[in-house]
C-alpha cells in the first residue's frame, strides 16, 4: 500500500456506506481517509424503471441505505448521460455488469495492478475473485471482492451464499441489513457466532477477516475460509501482531 496507515483506518466505523466505513474501495480511486460524504447511492434506485426492489444490486447494505435515506433524484440518471463532461459519481457495482467474463477481467486486472504499482497508485476496481470455503459445505463458492466496498457488504454476501449450510448460526440474531450499521452487532457477529470468517493472505498466513483496512484486505486476500469458531481461536493475536509489524 502506498499510503501510510492511519489509526482511524483500522477502526471499524459504520457510517453510511461511502461515508468512511471501510474506505470505499469499490468505486475506484478513493483516497484513504477521504470522506466522500454523500455518495451517490441513490443512483442504484432506478426510478425510471419504477421497480419495487432495487435492480440487480447484490449488497443488502445498499438496500438498507435506501430505506434509511431515500431521496429520489431523477436528475442523477439523466445527468450521467447527457452531460459527459461532468464525471458522474461512481455507481455501486452490479453483479456481472458489464458483461465481461471473469477470465478476461482477471487477466486485465493483473495488467492494471502491475501498471498502477509502477506509478504508485492504488489498483482500480477490477475483478478480484477469491474462493470461499466453509466448514461443512459441499462445494466451494467464489466471491468478487471488488463488488463490495466494505466488510459489512462482504459479510452479507457470504451469509446469503452459505445460508443453506448453516442453520442460521451465522446471523441468527435476526440481523437485517440495517443492523450492519450497528458496530456492536458486527463485532458480535465476528466474535460471538459459531462461524468465523478467515482469509489466507499473500504470505500464506491465515488471518481473521476484519482486522485490517478494507483495501488492504482486498489487495492481500487470496482465499477465504469460514471456519468453525473453535478452529479460529489463536488467529486473532497473530493477526494483530502481524498488523503491528506492518504498521
Amino acid at each position: 500500500m502506498s499510503s501510510g496507515l492511519r489509526m482511524e483506518e483500522t477502526e471499524l466505523r459504520l457510517g453510511l456506506p461511502g461515508g468512511g466505513g471501510g474506505g470505499g474501495g469499490g468505486g475506484g480511486e478513493v483516497e484513504s481517509g477521504k470522506n466522500s460524504g454523500k455518495r451517490g447511492f441513490v443512483e442504484i434506485v432506478d426510478l425510471k424503471l419504477q421497480l419495487q426492489t432495487p435492480v440487480g444490486v447484490q449488497e443488502a447494505a445498499a438496500e438498507a441505505a435506501e430505506k434509511v435515506k431515500r431521496s429520489p433524484n431523477d436528475d442523477s440518471i439523466v445527468s450521467c448521460g447527457s452531460d459527459p463532461e461532468k464525471p458522474s459519481p461512481p455507481k455501486a457495482q452490479v453483479v456481472g455488469w458489464p458483461p465481461v467474463r471473469s477470465f478476461r477481467k482477471n487477466i486485465l486486472s493483473v495488467h492494471s495492478e502491475k501498471g498502477r504499482k509502477e506509478e504508485g497508485e492504488k489498483s482500480s476496481s477490477l475483478a478480484a475473485l477469491v474462493k470461499v470455503s466453509m466448514d461443512g459445505a459441499p462445494y466451494l463458492r467464489k466471491v468478487d471482492l471488488k463488488t463490495h466496498r466494505s466488510y459489512q457488504e462482504l459479510f452479507v454476501a457470504l451469509q446469503k451464499m452459505f445460508d443453506s449450510f448453516t442453520t442460521g448460526d451465522y446471523g441468527s440474531q435476526g440481523m437485517s441489513g440495517r443492523d450492519f450499521m450497528n458496530e456492536r452487532k458486527v463485532k458480535d457477529l465476528l466474535h460471538g457466532s459459531e462461524y468465523v470468517p478467515t482469509y489466507e493472505d499473500k504470505d500464506g498466513d491465515w488471518m481473521l477477516v476484519g482486522d485490517v483496512p478494507w483495501e488492504m484486505f482486498v489487495a492481500s486476500c487470496k482465499r477465504l475460509s469460514i471456519m468453525k469458531g473453535s478452529e479460529a481461536i489463536g488467529l486473532a493475536p497473530r493477526a494483530m501482531e502481524k498488523c503491528k509489524n506492518k504498521c
Binding site: 421497480l51 456481472g96 455488469w97 465481461v100 478476461r104 502491475k114
Partner: protein, 632 residues
C-alpha cells in the same frame, strides 16, 4: 438432438434393435448390399415388435439407399428435417448421424440421445446458460459431464470427438474419457470448469491418437500442491497433434517437455501457449514448428528469471516470424512488451485473424501493425486503442468480417477511449462486417444508424454501453432509434444484444423487423411487459432469450406460452416475475422445465422470483437439482 422434437414417442420400438457392427469406420460399408446379410439389423427389426406387416424387401433396399444418401448430409437442421419425413427416413437418419449436437444438456438425457443415435462419433454439448459467464448462475447449478461420459463409454466405443461448452468436467471424467475411446482424437473445452492438470495428464497419456486439445477460457483449478506436469505425459513417439491450446491453464509448464513435444509433432498447425511462456521460449517453439498456421504467443515479453540469458533481440524475434510463412492467426499477447510488437510485421500481410484483446496497446502502437494487415478478417482488440486506433483499422482492413472491442476497465464508470466515432469509422471502412461486439461508454443513435446502413451484411450486432441506462450522449434520447435501424436495415441479423437507455419502442422495432433474430440479450431495458410481449409475439425465429434487470413481469412471461416449445431457453433475472406467473407457465406447458432460483435459499419466502430459467425437455425435471433450485 433435434430442435423440434416431435415424434419421439412413436419410435420407442426402434430403440430395441441393435445396430449393425458399429465398429466399422465408414458408413458406406453398411449400406452397400448388406440387405441380405444375416446379421443385418433390418431383418431383426422387421421380425420383432411390429403390429403391421413387415415391410417388403424393396423397403429394406430403399432404406439402405437412403442411408447412403443421407451420409452426405452434414447439416443438422437438414437432418432434423429429413428425420421427420417418415419412420423409414427417421431410422435411416438416426443411423447415419455422425455428429450429435445438443444445445442444452438438460433437454434430453444421455440414454435417450445415445439410444436414438447409435453411430455418432462426435458430441457437441452445451450446459450452463450464457449468463453463467457473468456470475449470475450460482456455482453448483449443474451441467455435469459425468453422466454423459459414463453413458458414452458404454455406448460409443468408437467416439472420436467431444466439444463441451459451459459444462463441469472433473478430472475423473477426463480420465474415463481417455481410457474408454481408442479412436479418440479431438477434445475441445470452452468455458468449462471442474478439472485441473491431473485430468489433462490423463488425456495426454492415454489418448494415443490425439489430434486436437483445445482449452479455451476454462477455469482450470489446481491447488498448488496438486499441479501435474501434464505436458510430459504425451507419448514419447511422434504424435498426431494438430492443435494444442492451453492459454487458460494458469500454472507454468515444463518448457523442455513442451519444446520436445512440438519437435515431435510434425502435424502441428495450431499452438497457443499460456502466459508462462516467455518471448524467448516462444521463439524456440517457432523454430521447431515453422509450419504453424495459428499461434498464441503467451506473454510476449521477456521473463527475466526464466530466460537467464540476455534479453531477446527484436531482430531475432522478427526473424522467427519471417520464417513462419504460414501464420494466419495470431493471439495471446498477454503482457506484450511494446518493443516486441514490431517483430510481427513480417506476418501481418498474411494474417486473417489477430487477437490483441489482452494487450494494452495504444493507438500509436497499433497503427504500424494494423496498417499492414490488409487481409484481416477477424480482429479482437482492447478499447485502449481508442477511436483513433479503430480509424486506422477501418482504413486498412477492408475485408474485416468480425470485430470485437473489449473494455480495458470493465466497470460502469470507467473512461473508455472508444465511442460512437470509432463505430462510424469502422462502418465506413469495413462494409463487409458481419459480426461486431463493441463495448463503450458513449454512443449515439446516429452512429448506430450509420452502421446499419453501411454494413448490411451484419449477422451479429452486440453493443454494450457500459453505463446503465445511458442515453444518446449528444441528444439525450433513448437508444431506440439506433437499434431499430439495425433490425430494419440489417436483414440478415440473427443475433442482437442491446444496451443503453431503451424504452418499449425498441422492442416494438425488434418484433416488427427482426424476423430472423434467434438470440436476443437484454439488460436494463424497457418500460413494461409490452416489451416482452412484442418480442415473444413478433420474433418467430427466437431461440434464445436472456434478460436481466428489466421491468418485465408475469403478463409478459405468459405472452410467450405459444412459443416456448420452439425455443432453446428463456433466462430472466432480477425482473418482476412472481412465483404465480412461473407456476402458471409450468402448468400450461408440461414439457417445459421451469427452474427458479435466487441468491439466497430462502428466496421463496415472498412471491418474487429472482432468477428464472426455462427450457423444453424430453425427459422432464433433471435429477441433479441442487438445493437452491426449485423446479415448478
Amino acid at each position: 438432438m433435434t430442435e423440434d422434437c416431435d415424434g419421439e414417442e412413436k419410435d420407442e420400438e426402434t430403440r430395441r434393435w441393435s445396430p449393425g457392427q458399429g465398429g466399422s469406420s465408414s458408413s458406406s460399408s453398411r449400406g452397400g448390399g448388406s440387405g441380405t446379410s444375416a446379421s443385418s439389423p433390418f431383418k431383426n427389426r422387421c421380425v420383432r415388435g411390429r403390429v403391421d406387416q413387415p415391410p417388403p424387401f424393396s423397403g429394406q433396399v430403399l432404406e439402405n439407399v437412403l442411408e447412403n444418401v443421407l451420409q452426405f448430409l452434414p447439416c443438422r437442421r437438414d437432418r432434423n428435417a429429413s428425420s421427420l419425413v417418415c419412420r423409414s427416413w427417421y431410422r435411416a437418419e438416426a443411423r447415419t448421424r455422425l455428429e450429435l449436437f445438443i444445445g442444452n444438456c438438460y433437454a434430453v438425457s444421455p440414454a435417450r440421445a445415445l439410444g436414438r443415435f447409435r453411430c455418432a462419433r462426435a458430441l457437441v454439448l452445451k450446459g450452463r446458460p450464457r449468463f453463467a459467464d457473468f456470475n449470475l448462475v450460482p456455482v453448483g447449478w449443474g451441467a455435469r459431464f459425468s453422466p454423459w461420459v459414463a453413458a458414452m463409454a458404454a455406448a460409443y466405443p468408437w467416439l472420436e470427438r467431444v466439444c463441451l461448452k459451459r459444462m463441469t468436467v472433473s478430472d475423473a471424467d477426463l480420465a474415463l474419457l481417455a481410457r474408454s475411446f481408442s479412436s479418440f482424437r479431438d477434445l475441445t473445452l470452452i468455458c468449462c470448469d471442474g478439472f485441473g492438470t491431473p485430468g489433462l495428464a490423463a488425456v495426454a497419456e492415454l489418448c494415443r491418437n490425439l489430434r486436437v486439445l483445445d482449452l479455451i477460457e476454462n477455469d482450470v483449478e489446481d491447488e498448488d500442491e496438486e499441479v501435474v506436469d501434464w505436458i510430459s505425459r504425451f507419448p514419447e513417439t511422434d504424435t498426431r497433434l494438430e492443435s494444442l491450446s492451453f492459454e487458460c491453464v494458469n500454472c507454468p509448464v515444463n518448457f523442455a517437455a513442451l519444446e520436445a513435444l512440438v519437435a515431435r509433432s510434425p502435424s502441428l498447425r495450431r499452438l497457443r501457449v499460456n502466459q508462462h511462456v516467455s518471448v524467448g521460449q516462444l521463439r524456440c517453439l517457432m523454430v521447431r514448428a515453422p509450419q504453424l498456421t495459428h499461434l498464441g504467443s503467451g506473454s510476449f515479453e521477456t521473463v527475466p528469471v526464466a530466460d537467464g540469458a540476455a534479453e531477446l533481440d527484436v531482430a531475432e524475434l522478427e526473424s522467427s516470424f519471417v520464417a513462419s510463412k504460414s501464420l494466419v492467426c495470431l493471439s495471446g499477447f498477454r503482457m506484450v512488451a511494446p518493443e516486441y510488437l514490431p517483430a510481427i510485421y513480417p506476418v501481418c500481410a498474411g494474417l486473417v485473424s489477430l487477437n490483441l484483446s489482452y494487450a494494452m496497446t495504444t493507438a500509436e502502437q497499433l497503427k504500424p501493425v494494423i496498417l499492414r494487415c490488409h487481409n484481416l478478417q477477424t480482429f479482437w482488440v482492447l478499447d485502449t486503442v481508442g477511436d483513433e486506433g479503430l480509424r486506422a483499422a477501418a482504413k486498412t482492413c477492408k475485408h474485416l468480417r468480425e470485430l470485437r472491442v473489449f473494455p480495458f476497465e470493465a466497470t460502469e464508470d470507467s473512461e473508455s477511449a472508444v465511442s460512437d466515432a470509432g463505430l462510424v469509422a469502422i462502418s465506413e471502412g469495413c462494409q463487409k462486417l458481419r459480426s461486431i461486439l463493441y463495448f463503450c461508454q458513449r454512443m449515439t443513435n446516429a452512429a448506430v444508424v450509420t452502421m446499419s446502413k453501411n454494413c448490411q451484411d451484419l449477422v451479429v450486432f452486440r453493443l454494450c454501453i457500459m453505463g446503465r441506462h445511458r442515453p444518446d450522449h449528444i441528444t439525450g434520447e433513448p437508444m431506440d432509434e439506433g437499434f431499430g435501424a439495425i433490425v430494419m436495415n440489417c436483414k440478415k441479423l440473427t443475433r442482437l444484444a442491446v444496451s443503453g437507455l431503451l424504452t418499449d419502442k425498441v422492442f416494438e422495432y425488434i418484433a416488427k423487423y427482426g424476423k430472423l433474430v434467434r438470440t436476443l440479450s437484454v439488460a436494463f431495458a424497457g418500460n413494461s411487459d409490452l416489451s416482452l410481449r412484442y418480442v415473444l409475439e413478433g420474433c418467430h425465429k427466437l431461440q434464445k432469450l436472456e434478460i436481466r434487470d428489466s421491468p418485465f413481469g408475469d403478463a409478459g412471461l405468459l405472452s410467450g406460452i405459444h412459443h416456448y416449445y420452439n425455443m432453446r431457453f428463456l433466462w430472466m433475472n432480477s425482473c418482476k416475475l412472481s412465483l404465480r406467473g412461473c407456476k402458471e407457465v409450468a402448468q400450461r406447458l408440461p414439457r417445459l422445465v421451469v427452474e427458479v432460483f435466487g441468491d439466497q435459499n430462502k428466496e421463496l419466502d415472498g412471491d418474487a422470483v429472482e432468477k428464472l430459467y426455462l427450457y423444453r425437455s424430453l425427459v422432464g425435471p433433471r435429477d441433479d437439482v441442487p438445493s437452491f433450485v426449485k423446479i415448478l
